[in-house]
Amino acid sequence: MTVKQFFKSNAFKSLAVLLAIVIIAGGLLAIFNDLLFVSDEERFNRTIEKIYGGSATVEETLTITDENGTFDKGAVSAAYKMSDGNYLIHSSGKGGYGGDVYLWVVVIAENGKFGGIEKVLLDTSDGETLLGNFRDSFYENFTKHNDELVEGKYFGTSGSDVINNVVTGTTLSSNAMCNAVNTAIDFFKSAVLGEEVVSYTYLYEKYVDMTQTTIERDFAANSVTLRIVMQANGIAPSIAFDVTVKDGAITAFEATKPFVQQYDETKIDESLRNGTYFVGKTAEEIAAALPDGETLDPAKLEGLGLATGASRSSESFFRAAAFATANFEAFFAPENLTYASYVDFEQSTFTWNYTEGNEVKMHIVMQANGIAPSIAFDVTVKDGAITAFEATKPFVQQYDETKIDESLRNGTYFVGKTLEEIAAALPDGETLDPAKLGGLGLATGASRSSESFFRAAAFALSNYTFYLTGGEQA
């Protein structure tokens, strides 16, 4: 085809027309963008008008930094002291369906103290699809629990020790909104009042001494074995419990004493002491005995006798059982972990033990990687760095270990490494880049297996904090 023919061809005409349409469309969009642009100031004025109807003005703009505006479950991007004395806070909540949710929250300041929530207004949330389901009653519900908020409670979508605010069918968006409101409350308490904000990862966590508590997850059996050491409860001393929860119900419950003070066990009902009362119980059944999330209600105990003189200790039993069952799903929740797609959670186990320091022992069984079979690793991470790394084979197929560099096989390459160092070798998050290995030789024929080694190390390091605290990923 000659140049002349090309310019006369249908292909050129099609291309030219399409290009012209795109250019004109682009020009139109640019013009309309200029005409219809909504500035930040205009948006803010709209918000003020919506919330206050012109009855209040901004008195002071608070300075937001990464330090004072970032929280576990959200962040604050703007905050203002209004002329009515309250604070208008722009906060985001993590955990939405398609991203974070941004809210405007009016926090009541009463005589220099936290007085609750006056109003909650949705700002933006482009990723959420079902925001039409949130009626005014949902937003108003945030303002109807100020007494409980002042007592220290927070909003949530499940659990007995939170103020529930959830719209059925949009639990994730509800959760993100609750997180945004809770973040605004935390910001007010910490940045405005100067209080220390304690955030809990787990339900009932405030009754538990997490520094002595251990959580052992068994993904294959869908069970979790816990050594729960409770905080002292009034005059009752700290009590430790060994609890196993499987499929959400308690299968073993035993009060143990070696690490804690003696408690007056003779006054506690025997079915509590030997754990038979709790075996088979689920989170809902146990939560029913703690109707306000903390105080034991004897009327809800199905005839269980609570002798005078040990009610606080008995309460600790129930709180421990509630901690073990109510957080059952939260103990696992590995789906959002970094590098999780390469790990076979059915066969992997993770053990966290604070008594050994900030140390997590992981038995990570990797998924097969192309032609490379599944490989298992025993990895220990302490204070964010690998302290032991060993490839183990008993539960997996044999892999051609002779081709893999010895320093990888015996783990010496990984010991002392941090996440940044390991992640650098996996620049796109999955493929091993031989140029980034600092001179480590990767023999042809075992590159996929070697990749699994690095992915296991990356998984262990990036999720160390998660398994250490059971909370969010590192």
Binding site: V17, N33, F37, V38, S125, L130, L131, G132
Partner: protein, 225 residues
């Protein structure tokens, strides 16, 4: 029947995009939890349909057949983006309530469907009428569903609380499918009855010359049908 009237009736009723052709289902199910959302979405689609139909009709002799679909999509996407900007500027509450479904109008089958089946082949005025009629048919359908779901699911009508009685099912996804199915059934029933009556009337008219007037002794309208 005047061709413009026929085009309008087709878009509004005979080929109603929602209840007859079952198009634009995603937005229909998701945004009819309240009547105002239904109206908002319907009018937004109507605006885009009108503009895109007009532009595509104007360009129908310029756009080569081989690139018509990408060209249509670019035009529709432009219209939708302009609509988004306008709503954000002038109706921010509606803009917020429609969320992600507003940009998704770009892939609404109704719009591309009318562009491909009608606007790319018909003059501008016809295309404009088709766009408005189809859009209003969609709006009416969404409004009807929105009213039903809001009344039963939230006890309110266009945001005005009427009673405390609520059936949560109607605001759920399952409730949306249920109401949608019931509306389609009712629409089909009514349109079949109307068509039946129309055919009967036609039949009567056709028989008049051969058998005399309908009110002639021994012939009733029912027997004719």
């Amino acid at each position: 029947m005047n061709k413009y009237v026929k085009t309008a009736v087709d878009g509004l009723i005979t080929n109603n995009a929602t209840f007859k052709l079952v198009l634009g289902t995603c937005a229909t199910l998701a945004l009819t939890t309240s009547a105002i959302n239904g109206v908002g979405m319907g009018l937004s689609v109507t605006a885009v349909l009108l503009l895109s139909n007009v532009v595509i009709s104007l360009l129908r002799k310029v756009i080569p057949n081989t690139v018509r679909i990408p060209a249509f999509i670019v035009i529709i996407a432009t219209m939708v983006t302009i609509l988004r900007m306008a709503l954000d500027k002038f109706l921010p509450d509606l803009y917020d309530s429609m969320g992600v479904f507003l940009p998704l109008i770009v892939v609404n089958c109704i719009i591309l469907g009318r562009a491909e089946a009608f606007a790319s082949k018909q003059p501008v005025l016809d295309s404009a009428i088709d766009g408005v009629a189809t859009g209003l048919g969609f709006t009416a359908a969404l409004t009807i569903m929105g009213v039903i779901r809001e009344l039963l699911g939230s006890g309110s009508f266009f945001g005005i609380q009427l009673w405390d009685f609520k059936i949560g099912f109607f605001t759920s996804s399952a409730g949306a499918f249920f109401v949608y199915g019931m509306c389609i059934a009712l629409f089909t029933l009514i349109s079949n009855r109307v068509e039946y009556a129309h055919r009967a009337r036609k039949a009567r008219e056709l028989r008049v010359p051969a058998e005399g007037p309908l009110d002639a002794p021994g012939i009733s309208a029912k027997e004719e049908a």
